[in-house]
Each structure stands twice: as structure tokens, then as C-alpha cells.
């Protein structure tokens, strides 16, 4: 393919300087920029679309294929919230580890040298995106349930929906923290999914009493159905805090090159 590149324009002799903000970007501005970064690439957009559509699509398939009556919608809403959260992990990982993979972290730190500020705004940004995408997905899932399922109880559905939204935000932040800690997208994703979908289920088969104290999936399902609230909240907080702290520490020590 032949590409014609326009020749650069000779610089004007004494063009006035552009208007420039004297201070750095505010936190809300940075959060908005981080959200736009995540959604300005095909991978980010695809991840967002998948996160929104996976829950309702899976619900439609299961509802259509199932012959058993559904007693309550809280279970399916919580389950689909969890599945959406698993996808939103990837969005979080891409927001942090993705910058290291493409070396765009250099430009980010050149413009905003305080790495803690960058990590904090990325965390807020992915939490907001996780919550919004989780909310949209949950609303669509609930709509599918309302249309396709007759006779199910909607008691507790509001709580389940809130838990699904919180799970979306929490899992996205887990991804962001883990991505910041590893600074390597494949390593972060593999490690997280291996633990969540492999190690914990394996441990639950041998030591269920240990697995139930660390399993975020179980915590989301229990919260969605109003069970073991305190333990479930602590588990999710632990999953959010530990990668975030690890990401914070390692980000500050890592050379950006």
C-alpha cells in the first residue's frame, strides 16, 4: 500500500504560545482521562461490550434452555454479576499493566510524575467503569429475567443488583491492583484467573473451610442472597486491598523504561 505523507509545515517564525494550564490536572480530570484511555482502544471497547452483554446473554440462554422453575431471581442476578466481574478484572488489568506493556507509562509519568496519584486515579476510574458496566449488565440481566422467567420471587432482587454492581467495581479494582503489581498483562491475568478459577475451587474440594474464607466468588454469591454478610465483605475488601497495596509499592519502585 502506498501512503502519501503530508510534508511538515515550516514552523511559524513567532507564533503565540498556546494557552496552557499552569497547574497539573485535577483528580476528576485525570479520572476522566483514565476512563477515556481504557475505552479508546479496540481491546478496551471489546472488553466493555463483553462485560455488558455476557450476563444477559448467558441468562437468556439458561432461561431458554431450563425446564426447572426458578424460585428466586437473586441467585441468577448474583451469578451473572460475578461473571461480569470476572470480565471486568481484565479491564482493570489492562488499565495498569497495559500501560507497561505498550510503554505508554513513560508518557503518563512524564505528564503526571506522582505515581501514587496516577494509580489512585486509575483505581477510581476502573471502579467507576466497573460499577457502571456492572449496573448496565445487571439491568439487562434483570430485564431478561423479567421477560423470560415466570413465577420467580423478586424479593431481595434490589440487594442482589447492588451486590452485582459492587462486585463489578471491586473486581475491576482487583485487576488494576494486580496489573500494577505485575506490570505485565499476561502474568497478571493468568495469575488472577488461575487462583480464582483453579486454585480456590481446588482448595474448596479438600479444605472447604479455608476456601470459604478467601473465595471472592462465594462472597459475592452470599452477599447477593443476604448471607454471611460480614465475612463476605471482609473477603472482598481483602481482595481489593492486597493487590492495591502491592501495586502501589511496586509501582513506586519500578523504573519506567
Amino acid at each position: 500500500m502506498t501512503t502519501t505523507i503530508a510534508r511538515p509545515t515550516p514552523a511559524p517564525a513567532a507564533a503565540p504560545r498556546p494557552t496552557v494550564r499552569r497547574t497539573g490536572p485535577s483528580l476528576p480530570t485525570l479520572v476522566g482521562i483514565e476512563m477515556r484511555k481504557s475505552l479508546s482502544t479496540r481491546s478496551g471497547k471489546a472488553m466493555a461490550v463483553a462485560a455488558v452483554l455476557l450476563g444477559p446473554a448467558a441468562t437468556a440462554v439458561v432461561a431458554g434452555a431450563s425446564t426447572e422453575p426458578l424460585a428466586t431471581v437473586t441467585g441468577p442476578i448474583a451469578v451473572m454479576g460475578l461473571l461480569t466481574g470476572y470480565l471486568l478484572i481484565a479491564l482493570g488489568v489492562l488499565s495498569t499493566a497495559g500501560e507497561w506493556a505498550h510503554r505508554t507509562v513513560q508518557t503518563t509519568y512524564l505528564l503526571v510524575p506522582h505515581r501514587g496519584r496516577v494509580l489512585a486515579t486509575k483505581t477510581v476510574a476502573v471502579a467507576l467503569m466497573g460499577a457502571v458496566l456492572g449496573a448496565v449488565s445487571t439491568a439487562l440481566t434483570s430485564g431478561v429475567l423479567a421477560v423470560m422467567v415466570d413465577g420467580a420471587s423478586w424479593d431481595g432482587a434490589g440487594r442482589a443488583m447492588v451486590v452485582a454492581v459492587v462486585a463489578g467495581a471491586a473486581f475491576a479494582v482487583v485487576g488494576a491492583g494486580t496489573g500494577a503489581a505485575f506490570a505485565n498483562t499476561p502474568a497478571a491475568l493468568t495469575s488472577l484467573y488461575l487462583v480464582l478459577l483453579g486454585v480456590i475451587p481446588l482448595v474448596s474440594g479438600f479444605k472447604p473451610e479455608i476456601a470459604e474464607k478467601v473465595d471472592p466468588a462465594g462472597a459475592v454469591l452470599n452477599l447477593g442472597q443476604g448471607e454471611q454478610t460480614t465475612q463476605s465483605v471482609l473477603i472482598l475488601v481483602g481482595w481489593v486491598v492486597v493487590p492495591a497495596v502491592a501495586g502501589w509499592v511496586l509501582t513506586h519502585r519500578r523504573a519506567a523504561q
Binding site: 511538515p8 514552523a11 494550564r21 485525570l30 484511555k37 479508546s40 479496540r42 505508554t104 510524575p113 523504561q257
Partner: protein, 291 residues
């Protein structure tokens, strides 16, 4: 003004930047030369806070880069032109930078026009050539028209017209009072662009001075209609004369004015008379080999 004092970087037992000090004044273009692995890029990364220094300081108008309230408005940096997400369009990439720095969106179109990427702005960066990515990096550095430019190998991927354009850009920036630091392996390009040279070898500054000072040497190159006669006159005056390239005579230790006066007194017509200058390549290899 940029001041670097005793900047050092060690990785374990390996010292990659060793006690580097220099000051960059406004209105100057400084070339930062050195072989691969000499420490140029590491020095630039320490100056911009990307890599923590083991010791020493680097300041921009008296403040470390990381303490500038809006660094992108003060220092335009091009360190790695390929550090762009390939999935973004050129315009989107610059818009994100512009919003972070705090310049109007219209400035994005101005810099795209300036670097000749206006037609490619809507294409994904993954489809850009090396030269286009280089131009995009330059565009990003120029968004705020900052007083300081720090460019690492800016001519990479540029064709001769692009190199000339970049030279005019940088010299124009310095002429308007800006400060430019650029590193390059293209010695010929650096020689025509910079006022001052910093040469680094094995992590240490081995030369720091004006181009004319570093490249000039004590002597004169002269050609004449009667080379043999001129040779006799110069040798008679006590000068050592050698035959140089292209038929010129090389007179060591002689000022051009003295050689001209001797030729005139003997009635010998001169066809060329100039101070003797070393090539930048010779200087580069001499200094970095010693390091």
C-alpha cells in the same frame, strides 16, 4: 535553565551514569553524543524522573522535574516514540496528552499540521511507519510549546527532508529563547544543528563545549596556484607544512591571517584559506575511545 549536578546511576555494581554535571542555558541547542550504552538515555530519564538517580540532582529552573506543577507545560520530552498504544488513533493519543497538559483541543490540530500528520490523524498508530511515530512523538512534545525540549534520537526514521525540518524546528525554538537537549547517533546531523556538545563515554562526560571550540584546532588549510612556492615561503617562516586532502596544504600552528600575509608578501595567489577543523566523527571516536 536545566542544571544537572553529579548525577549518578548504578545498577548493582554497574555504574551506567557516573558523576555527570552540566547546565543548559536558554537559547541554546545542546547535542548529547555518545556510543550505545554510554548513558545518554539513562541521563535523560533521570532528568525527567522516569528513573530514580542513585545520587546527584537534576533541576529545571531550580526544581526537580517531579515537583513541577505541570511538567508537560515546561518540558517537552521525546524519549521513546514507539511508546504509544497501537490501538489508538494519532488524534486520540494527542487529545489525551493535550487534556492532561491542559491545552485546547485546537492545539492538537495545529501540531498535527506542523508535523505533517494531519491526514493520518484518524488512523490507528499501529499502522504508522517509524517516521510517522517519530513525528507523532514530536507533536506530543510540542503541544504546550514548552520552553525546554529534551529529545532522544529525534531523527530516527526521518527522511532527509524531515531531518532538515526538525533541525529548523529546533534551531527556531532556541532562537525564540527555548532550551533544547538532543541526543543523536547521526553525527553529521548533530554538527549542523547544535551550538554546544556534550560527549559522554562509559557514563562520564568526556567533552563539554561549543562546537567551534571542540572541533577547531590550531592550524590553517590553504590552497594556492603555486603550491610549491607557497610551501617554500611557509617553511622559510618556520612553519611545518603537510599536504592535506584535495591538494590543500595543512600548516599546523599558523593562523589564517598569518598565512595570508606571507602569501601576499611573496605575491602568491591563494584559492582557499580557512582554519583547520577536525571532523566531529574524529572527535567522537577520539573522546569515546579514551573513555
Amino acid at each position: 535553565m536545566i542544571t544537572v549536578e553529579n548525577l549518578t546511576k548504578q545498577y548493582g555494581n554497574r555504574t551506567v551514569v557516573d558523576d555527570v554535571s552540566f547546565t543548559l542555558e536558554a537559547g541554546t541547542v545542546t547535542g548529547f553524543l555518545g556510543p550505545n550504552g554510554a548513558g545518554k538515555t539513562t541521563t535523560m530519564r533521570m532528568m525527567t524522573g522516569l528513573v530514580p538517580a542513585t545520587s546527584g540532582t537534576a533541576t529545571v529552573d531550580g526544581r526537580p522535574y517531579t515537583e513541577l506543577p505541570n511538567p508537560g507545560a515546561v518540558v517537552g520530552t521525546l524519549i521513546d516514540a514507539s511508546a504509544v498504544h497501537p490501538g489508538r488513533t494519532g488524534r486520540t493519543h494527542l487529545r489525551l496528552l493535550a487534556d492532561t497538559i491542559g491545552v485546547p483541543a485546537s492545539r492538537v490540530d495545529e501540531v498535527l499540521e506542523l508535523v505533517g500528520l494531519a491526514d493520518a490523524a484518524k488512523r490507528r498508530v499501529g499502522g504508522y511507519s517509524l517516521g510517522m511515530r517519530q513525528r507523532l512523538g514530536i507533536a506530543g512534545a510540542l503541544l504546550a510549546d514548552p520552553p525546554v525540549l529534551i529529545f532522544d534520537e529525534p531523527a530516527n526514521g526521518l527522511d532527509p527532508e524531515g531531518i532538515r525540518w526538525m533541525r529548523d524546528l529546533l534551531r527556531g525554538h532556541a532562537a525564540r529563547g527555548g532550551t533544547v537537549l538532543l541526543s543523536s547517533h547521526l553525527l553529521g546531523e548533530v554538527e549542523h544543528t547544535v551550538d554546544r556538545l556534550l560527549v559522554i563515554g562509559a557514563g562520564r562526560i568526556v567533552a563539554d563545549g561549543q562546537v567551534s571550540e571542540l572541533l577547531g584546532s590550531d592550524g590553517t588549510s590553504v590552497t594556492a596556484v603555486d603550491l610549491a612556492g607557497l610551501t617554500r615561503v611557509l617553511q622559510g617562516a618556520g612553519f611545518h607544512v603537510q599536504h592535506g586532502p584535495d591538494g590543500a596544504l595543512v600548516v599546523e600552528g599558523a593562523e589564517p591571517a598569518v598565512v595570508g600575509a606571507l602569501a601576499a608578501s611573496a605575491g602568491i595567489a591563494l584559492t582557499d584559506l580557512r582554519p583547520l577543523q577536525r571532523g566531529l566523527e574524529d572527535l567522537f571516536f577520539q573522546l569515546t575511545a579514551a573513555a
